[in-house]
């Protein structure tokens, strides 16, 4: 066979592609179907959001945080609000914290529904995608009643949240959670436990725990590899210490630990846990104000602070430097998708092109979060 001349093919999975999650580009060096390497190219969605913070001030930046990761806008809102509150020593009222948890967990449900649906679409099953999006539309309806928008919520403010729960909303939310539980089982029957799905996802790009930590993976990706780290439980913020929930861990039941199937099933299990948190939070919500007293002309003391929030994509870090004026000096967001992109080049060696799509979908990479 050595006399048979073969060449490596360089393919461009360009910024316009039906299955990259957002505008991403990969330069794939492939030997037929098997890849030698897939080099990611990011930056197509860079909007200088962190620089914009320095121009619009603390209150005005809140809608921009929605756009950092528009699928999980509540978490970015919460991260920014918590960072500013830490800088200025503002306490959020208890009901405000509970409203934040309720909104955030609904957003986690919506984001995970989108992720598992996209996984379906990426491996060719269009139906689970639409079923998942139907459920997500119902969550969007709920949140639209709560804060007025379906995607870029701008719900949280520095010092609490903007709106209290409207009358009758709690009953609708609980009815939705009751509706969701059998639908998730049905989704699993249709898609997650389907033999073809398991064959496509199991044993694809297993990430060991050491690799996951070294490459800065966070969130469900990290937990799928067996590393037991969840910011809500280990560095509790807001009122998560008063709520009971489990943190699912990957154990390689369908393939190896940390493979794509584990990462995918993490999200299914986290949805179940989010439902649990939501029921508790809706039941335990105390009365009181939802927004603390914060001046309009917000000028925190000079200093820096770092805050971590467990977003649907993982541990999201917000680092804010204030110089005492009404505009921050530097804002930086450290997102899980950015780290995940760094790992793709290493993981893609030896995978097939079809597996690259599965890998990106299982890492739950969202382009606006990478580029900001």
């Amino acid at each position: 066979m050595s006399a048979f001349h073969t060449e490596e093919m360089t393919l461009n999975m360009g910024p316009q592609h039906p299955s990259t999650h957002g505008v991403l580009r990969f330069v794939i060096k492939a030997d037929g179907e098997v890849m030698r390497e897939a080099i990611p190219d990011v930056g197509y969605l860079h909007r200088s959001i962190e620089k914009i913070a320095e121009k619009v001030g603390y209150h005005g930046f809140m809608p921009y945080t929605d756009r950092v990761d528009y699928v999980c806008a509540m978490f970015t809102n919460q991260g920014w609000a918590m960072a500013c509150e830490k800088l200025a020593n503002v306490t959020v009222p208890r009901r405000g914290e509970y409203c934040r948890v309720v909104a955030a967990e609904f957003n986690r449900l919506a984001s995970h529904l989108l992720t598992v649906g996209l996984m379906g679409m990426d491996i060719g099953a269009m139906t689970p995608f639409l079923h998942a999006l139907r459920e997500r539309e119902m969550i969007n309806d709920l949140i639209e009643e709560l804060c007025g928008a379906r995607l870029t919520f701008n719900y949280m403010r520095i010092g609490g949240v903007a709106w209290d729960l409207p009358p009758g909303w709690r009953e609708k939310a609980l009815a939705y959670l009751d509706h969701l539980a059998p639908i998730l089982d049905e989704f699993n029957s249709l898609f997650s436990y389907n033999k073809i799905c398991i064959e496509r996802l199991a044993n694809v790009a297993p990430i060991s725990a050491a690799d996951a930590i070294n490459y800065n993976l966070v969130g469900p990706n990290l937990r799928a590899s067996g590393v037991n780290w969840d910011v809500r439980r280990d560095l509790p913020y807001s009122v998560y210490s008063e709520l009971e929930f489990e943190v699912p861990l990957g154990a390689g039941e369908w393939g190896s630990q940390g493979d794509a199937m584990d990462r995918y099933m993490m999200r299914i299990r986290e949805m179940v846990q989010s439902s649990r948190i939501l029921r508790q939070a809706l039941a335990q919500m105390p009365d009181g104000p939802v927004l603390g007293k914060v001046v309009r002309n917000f000028k925190p003391a000079a200093g820096e602070c770092q805050v971590r929030v467990e977003s649907a994509r993982g541990d999201q870090g917000w680092y804010v430097v204030s110089d005492g004026t009404a505009f921050p000096q530097r804002v930086h967001v450290r997102t899980g998708s950015f780290a995940a992109m760094g790992m793709i080049q290493k993981l893609s060696r030896g995978l097939m092109i079809a597996d690259l799509v599965v890998l990106i979908a299982s890492l739950d990479v969202i382009a606006p979060e990478i580029d900001r």
Binding site: L11, G124, E186, S189, C197, R200, M352, D355
Partner: protein
């Protein structure tokens, strides 16, 4: 049809001394054209409407329902739109092969219509190698798709074309092997012969004749899905990986030709399975009028074929796509050995029970009915558990 033409010649319809060959040739040409214009092409177009509506209901959507009554003319609007589109040929592409490829694929779709057994009298050509012809001809799609993939001068198209070639060629084998049990049981390759060997009652269908044929029916159906590039085997046109695979660079009518061939082939695949396993056009003998019987048989054939086409669409809406190496291992490690076992098993069976065995037949039928009942109960369970509203009307 030959008998009918002979009687017409004897009555002097074509003049005093016509050349039989000329009469036959012209008649068959006209008949082929009629079948294509009235059955094949409309089917390939209208089935897109059905597929989109069925697919949409599976996905909790509605599907096209505006153009024409319930969206019935959507395919016409799509066709007109595609005709009006710019015909792009990439500058570096091999223009001659690029243009030729869709025609080959459509040719592979059109040729099998010559042996479609619509009823006991309505068949264009009852070849005595009918079933072999109908299995061999769709292999032309390989040539067409490979040509399209290569001539597009696009690496993604090339990957799609090569995947498709590997897939279609591999799945010809289980498909062919699944035909042979039936041929063993009937001793003939002709379509009408195979249908006449079955009866109108379900227990007389070959699918229930013995367990090997039951398995062979499913393998035949799944292999035909693979031959048509239908999900779960639609790797060549895998939308989420390869944009449109081998058809990426095609626009307007050339693109539609590829997909018209795919949708039309669904019918041919269904017809093969119906002929071999589900009794073809067989219908209980109600009247002695040949015209009425032919019409009823035609209806029976179409109903069975359309049901299988519906199943094919339903499978498309349910299953994800397999990867190329999994598809290969599925074919060579699972389907081919099982097909061989079916073949040998049927050979032994025919040796032991030359006329079949009533107990086994009824047993298999009962088994089939039990599976259907189990399926219906699962459907009812899922519907009840989801708590969503029922809506049984097909149109909305």
């Amino acid at each position: 049809m030959q008998l009918w033409l002979d009687s017409l010649i004897a009555h002097g319809v074509f003049g005093p001394h016509p050349s039989h060959e000329w009469v036959y040739t012209i008649a068959i040409t006209i008949a082929c054209a009629l079948v294509l214009m009235l059955v094949a092409l409309p089917f390939a177009s209208i089935v897109t409407w059905v597929e989109r509506r069925v697919w949409a209901r599976i996905q909790s959507r509605i599907g096209p329902n505006r153009v024409g009554p319930n969206g019935f003319l959507q395919w016409l609007a799509d066709g007109v739109k595609h005709v009006c589109k710019e015909d792009l040929i990439p500058s570096e592409a091999d223009a001659r092969l690029f243009k030729l490829a869709p025609y080959l694929v459509v040719l592979a779709f059109i040729l099998p219509w010559a042996v479609m057994p619509f009823s006991s009298g309505l068949i264009l050509a009852d070849l005595n190698i009918g079933i072999l012809y109908i299995t061999a001809v769709p292999a032309l799609t390989v040539v067409g798709i490979l040509m399209g993939g290569w001539a597009s001068n696009n690496k993604w198209s090339l990957i799609g074309g090569i995947r498709s070639a590997a897939q279609i060629i591999s799945y010809e084998i289980p498909a062919g092997l699944s035909i042979f049990p039936i041929v063993l049981m009937t001793g003939t390759l002709s379509m009408q012969g195979i249908i006449r060997a079955q009866g109108w009652a379900p227990d007389r269908w070959f699918i229930f004749a013995n367990p090997f044929c039951f398995v062979a029916a499913f393998i035949m159906f799944i292999s035909s899905l693979a031959e048509n590039n239908r999900t779960p085997f639609d790797l060549p046109e895998a939308e989420s990986e390869l944009v449109a695979g081998f058809a990426t660079e095609y626009s307007s009518m050339r693109y539609l030709f590829f997909f018209m061939a795919e949708w039309g082939n669904m019918f041919i695949a269904a017809a093969i399975v119906v002929t071999l396993f589900l009794g073809g056009w067989q219908f209980p003998l109600l009247t002695r009028s040949a015209v009425v019987m032919n019409a009823l048989q035609f209806v029976a054939f179409m109903v069975k074929c359309l049901f299988l086409v519906l199943v094919s669409m339903w499978v498309r809406g349910t299953l994800p796509r397999v990867r190329i190496d999994q598809m290969m291992s599925l074919c060579w490690k699972y389907f081919v050995p099982i097909s061989f076992i079916n073949l040998i098993g049927t050979a032994v069976w025919v040796a032991i029970f030359p006329d079949g065995n009533a107990i086994v037949r009824w047993g298999m039928l009962a088994f089939g009915v039990a599976i259907a009942v189990l399926f219906a109960s699962r459907v009812i369970t899922f519907t009840r558990r989801s708590g969503m509203e029922l809506y049984l009307r097909p149109t909305i």
